[in-house]
Amino acid sequence: MADNNPFPGENNTGHIWDDNIRELSNPPPGWWMISFWASIAFFIGYGVLYPFLPIGEEPTKGILGWTQIGEFNKGLDEVNAVRAPYEAKIKDLTAKQILEDDSLTTYTIASSKVLFGDFCAPCHGGGGQGGPEYPVLVDDNWLYGGTVETIEQTITNGRKATMTAHANILKPEEMEALVKSIMDGKPTEEPLYAAKGCIACHGADGKGLQVLGAANLTDKIWRFPAQDQAESVRHTIMHGVNFAGDPKTREAIMPAFGERLSKDDVKKLAVYVYKLGAGQ
């Protein structure tokens, strides 16, 4: 073919069709070919070293033994190594002792944020601001007490208070009299308060008994806040709280976390909640 090439000197391959359509040989530049072969070499090298061919149940493993989960665990180990000295200290201390140490407190708050978000925030809100029917954790009103020990106890064992439904006990006018006195913040001045047994749980001063989780009726904070607060109070008196047999009763149950969380995690959460703003 080369003998009678009609287009000499233009680096065609000698393949010519229809008189003038011919194949030219224009190889890519050297640097391009080098990087082309280099990338193929890389491809093979990578395949040997790392998980590669998805054949069978699992891909080929590669001689380095690298895995994603392995790398993840390595990162986790690094984090745990940083945390270890603090965690070791926390293990031997009570929540109260943690609070006495500033740097430990700072560590505890920082490391419990995720715990709080996972286990507490769904009901109590991300910042402890409470939710509909769920208590606020950042005010100074504690149903069961706001010391770090009681908070720890609350988280470990949970809480469930009961209040009798009074729908069938009180006459409508008695109900109204009680609602009014509670709305005024002076329940003790209403004779029915003592006569109908409210005093047994809410106390002679109307400030509630923390051992029973009975609400303080004299302060500005409502356990079940609502637009129409009087209606909410009436509802609570009529149907009670956690009162079996009344489907309309208020449900107010704090679940126990003692078995779901480790002792240290509970301790840390207690410190976190205590430091949210209102620990006593």
Binding site: G125, G127, D139, D140, D219, K220, G277, A278
Partner: protein, 479 residues
Amino acid sequence: MGSSNTDSGSADKALDDIYDDYQQWELNTGGETIHAKRVSGFWRNLKWLTGSTWLLFFLGYFVRWGDRQAVFFDIGNRQFHIFNFTILPQDFWMLSLLLLFFALLLAASTALFGRVYCGFFCFQTIWTDVYTWIEEKLEGAPAKRRKIDKAKMDFTKFRIKFVKHALWLIIGFVTGVSFVAWFYDGIQLWKDIFSFQVGSTAIITISMFTVGTYVLAGFLREQTCFWLCPYARIQAVMIDTTSAVVTYDFHRGEPRGRIKKGQSEEERTTGDCVECLQCIAVCPTGVDIRHGSQEGCINCALCIDACDAVMKKINRPTGLIRYESLDEIEGKEARSLFKRPRVWIYGAIMSLALLGIAYGLSTIDAIELKVLHDRQPLFVLQSDGSIQNKYILKILNKIDKDVSVTISATGPEGLKIIGADKPVKAHHGKINPHTVFVRVPGENLTAETEPIVFRIDTVATGKEIFFSDRESIFIGPRR
């Protein structure tokens, strides 16, 4: 240059020598190394002088201030020290003003004098100048250099080339070390280098600078100015006919032509340009300035020196190539600065930038307070009817030691801060977060949000007391 006893003979010899340098140049894409001739003269000396400002770069980091380097960009600790000022990342807005200043300084100087920066200050041209100076010292004049480039490798050539490249690499290395020294303790860096204790970041940076300098100044040279540097590309919009640039006076020079031997000055039909091509021979970027202002011209003015030398030799007035605006070459009057808004608008922006920096430096706080109002919840009702807000105070301490600060606040009547009864420790060079709660009796609140001002004072340990305050808001229930 040869010398002869008779006057005409020496002139002819000089001419012959000049024409020997004739070379036709085309678009320079680096196919052939440019071996520029070196001539002495006013502009040559000026270039050495302005270029020597770069000695500051090599020596400046040896200046000490107290127990540290006077100018020290401490990236690890996120602190920049410039003499007695310490600048933290929070003050970095000043850096943007500084960059603005220099960007406009470049624009303003270009509008006034063309690419003086390129010709007299740019590291690329200065370093290249030094590299070619070394080359000339070792290899000789341009013709010799071309010869040695073409010659076969033998011991002499190898020795010359080896010394040259070694010197180039040493300069590159010192350049790299000097760069890193501003971010490291310079003296310590040299010690660490000789005891092989330099960290990997410094090694990588120094290597990059060594190789970069060696390649850019040794090999790429004017190709960098032609095809890498963006400044050459935008210069066309930065100069106008009033900008003084290196210009060939074509009215005087054209039509150019060689001197005819024996022809008297009266019979001459050509212009002043004798087509000696000295302007091209000395040009470090290899352009022909007689084509007018062009992207390859870095305004180094070395062609002026070359042309003036020739004009003196042939007894014609100097300044055929000179530093002048196109307007003046065309015989128009030079426009006064007042009628050049480009220049004074640049000037105004530069002054504003400088004022901003001066303001910033004079008002740098020793301590600084930022206040974050907690948003979840915005406020909390307390049992006594008071409203509580949570704030995270971020206390930035720019003093060089740890201090304690007291926290106070003024705002709605009857406010009480919880968590600020004791002074708070603020570590130096750090942002120290501290949480406080503020309680205000509900009846004292008159609006949904009210202003509250936090203030921190350092507890006096020395003679100076610093304070900083910051306004935030106190949020209560909707009214």
